[in-house]
C-alpha cells in the first residue's frame, strides 16, 4: 500500500526569516553596530579582583559554562544508559554516534593502545567543540559591561539599568572622543585565549610522552637521544643522533602548532564576525556564522585526531613502523 507522499513546499519558515530580516533593518537604523576594541589578552569581567591579584576573565567564565554543559550532557547519557534501552534517543543517541566514530578512528590507528588513547581524543574533541560553538550563541561577545576607554563611544539608556552604545553620526570606528565608553563582554570564546589553547597543547604533548614511556619503557627516550649507533656504524650512527635531536625539536614545534592552529582559526573567525557585522549589519553575518560552525567543528576534531595520531606513533617506536603499515592496509 502506498501512503500518499506530500509534496515538499517552503511553508512558513520563509516568512519567519523575512520578518527577522525586516526587524534587523529596523533595529540597525536606530542603533547601528560598532566595531569593538579587539585585543589579544582576555578582559576582566569585574573591576575588583576575586582574591589577591586574581581577576576573573571572560574566557574563564566561558570555559566554566562549557564544563557545566558537558557535565549535564554526561548526566543525560548516564541516565539513558542506566535505563536499559538499547537504542537511546535524542542527545544521548547523538553522543553515542559521535563517540562511536571517534572509537573507530582510534582503533584503526592505534591498535592495542586504543583504550588508553580514546579518553584523551574524546575529551579534547568534545571540550573544544562545545567551547568553539559558543561563538554562535547570540549574546556572547556582545553583552557585557561598559567602562571608560579612549576608544569609546557615547552611550544611551534603553531600559533602567540597560545601556547601549550609540555611534556618533558619520564617524569611523575607533576615532571617537575621550571619555566615551567601550564594551567588555561577559562571555568570550575560550579558544581565543592563548592560555586555554597552550594549556590543552601542553596536556596533549605531555601525555604523548607518558604514553610512549608506558608502552616502551625508558627506551622511549632513545627516540630523542640516539647514541646507540655511534660506535657500531659510525656514519649512520652520527646521522641517527642528529635525527634524534630533530625529533626533540619537532616535539616543541608540535606544542606551538597545536596551540596556534586552534587559536588562530577561532580568533580570526571572531574578528571576521565582528568586522563583517559592523560593515554590513543586515543578514551577511549569518552566512559567516555558518562558516564558523564548520570551522569550529573541524578544528575540534583535528586537535583531537592529531593528539591521537601522535600518541599512537609514540607507542609504536622505531622499527615497527613497516609492519603496522601492512596491518593498516589489510584493515580497510
Amino acid at each position: 500500500m502506498e501512503t500518499p507522499s506530500r509534496k515538499w513546499r517552503y511553508g512558513v519558515n520563509r516568512w519567519i526569516i523575512l520578518g527577522l530580516v525586516i526587524l534587523n533593518i529596523v533595529a540597525v537604523s536606530y542603533y547601528s553596530p560598532v566595531l569593538p576594541h579587539i585585543q589579544l589578552p582576555a578582559e576582566n569581567v569585574s573591576e575588583t579582583p576575586l582574591f589577591g591579584n586574581f581577576y576573573l576573565t571572560n574566557t574563564l567564565v566561558a570555559t566554566l559554562i562549557a564544563d557545566v554543559i558537558l557535565i549535564l550532557i554526561a548526566i543525560a547519557v548516564r541516565r539513558a544508559v542506566r535505563s536499559g534501552e538499547l537504542i537511546p534517543r535524542g542527545i544521548p543517541g547523538a553522543i553515542e554516534a559521535i563517540l562511536e566514530l571517534i572509537n573507530n578512528l582510534t582503533e584503526s590507528t592505534a591498535g592495542k593502545w586504543a583504550k588508553s588513547i580514546f579518553p584523551f581524543f574524546a575529551t579534547i574533541t568534545l571540550l573544544v567543540l562545545v567551547v568553539n560553538w559558543m561563538e554562535l550563541i547570540p549574546g556572547v561577545d556582545s553583552i557585557g559591561r561598559l567602562e571608560h576607554s579612549e576608544h569609546g563611544y557615547p552611550i544611551e539608556q534603553v531600559m533602567p539599568g540597560v545601556y547601549t552604545i550609540v555611534p556618533t553620526s558619520g564617524e569611523s570606528a575607533g576615532e571617537a572622543h575621550e571619555g566615551g565608553y567601550g564594551l567588555i563582554p561577559y562571555l568570550r570564546v575560550a579558544s581565543t585565549d592563548l592560555n586555554f589553547t597552550v594549556g590543552l597543547a601542553l596536556i596533549a604533548v605531555l601525555m604523548t610522552q607518558v604514553m610512549g614511556v608506558r608502552s616502551l619503557g625508558a627506551t622511549y627516550f632513545t627516540k630523542f637521544i640516539n647514541v646507540g649507533g655511534i660506535f657500531s656504524r659510525p656514519a649512520f650512527g652520527l646521522l641517527d643522533f642528529f635525527v634524534g635531536i630533530l625529533e626533540l625539536i619537532s616535539e616543541f614545534s608540535k606544542l606551538l602548532s597545536f596551540s596556534f592552529r586552534l587559536f588562530g582559526n577561532i580568533f580570526a573567525g571572531s574578528v571576521l564576525l565582528f568586522v563583517i557585522g559592523t560593515l554590513i549589519p543586515v543578514f551577511v553575518q549569518s552566512m559567516f556564522l555558518g562558516l564558523e560552525f564548520f570551522v569550529g567543528l573541524i578544528q575540534a576534531v583535528v586537535f583531537g585526531m592529531l593528539t591521537m595520531v601522535f600518541m599512537a606513533q609514540a607507542t609504536q617506536g622505531h622499527g615497527e613502523h613497516h609492519e603496522d603499515e601492512g596491518a593498516e592496509g589489510a584493515h580497510a
Binding site: 589579544l40 602548532s257 596556534f260
Partner: protein, 75 residues
C-alpha cells in the same frame, strides 16, 4: 613613516604567505579526489586523511594570519 602606517603595511605584507597554503590545499584535494575516483570503496579512508592533511596545511596560513593580527592589534 609613522608606526600606525607601518603597521597596516606590515599586516598586509604578512598575509602574502597564505598563497602557499592555497596551493598546498589545492594539491591535496586534487590527490584525494583522484584517489576517490580510482577507488570509491576507499573514500572514507581517503577523506579522513585529506582532512588531516588540510588541517596541517591550513595551520601555516593561520601562522601568517596570527602574525598579521599581532602586528595590527598588539602593542
Amino acid at each position: 613613516m609613522e608606526v600606525a602606517a607601518a603597521r597596516l603595511i606590515g599586516a598586509g605584507l604578512a598575509m602574502v604567505g597564505t598563497i602557499g597554503a592555497g596551493v598546498g590545499i589545492g594539491l591535496l584535494v586534487n590527490g584525494a579526489v583522484q584517489g576517490i575516483a580510482r577507488n570509491p570503496d576507499a573514500s572514507g579512508d581517503v577523506q579522513t586523511n585529506m582532512i588531516l592533511g588540510i588541517a596541517f596545511t591550513e595551520a601555516v596560513a593561520i601562522y601568517c594570519l596570527v602574525v598579521a593580527l599581532l602586528i595590527l592589534f598588539v602593542g
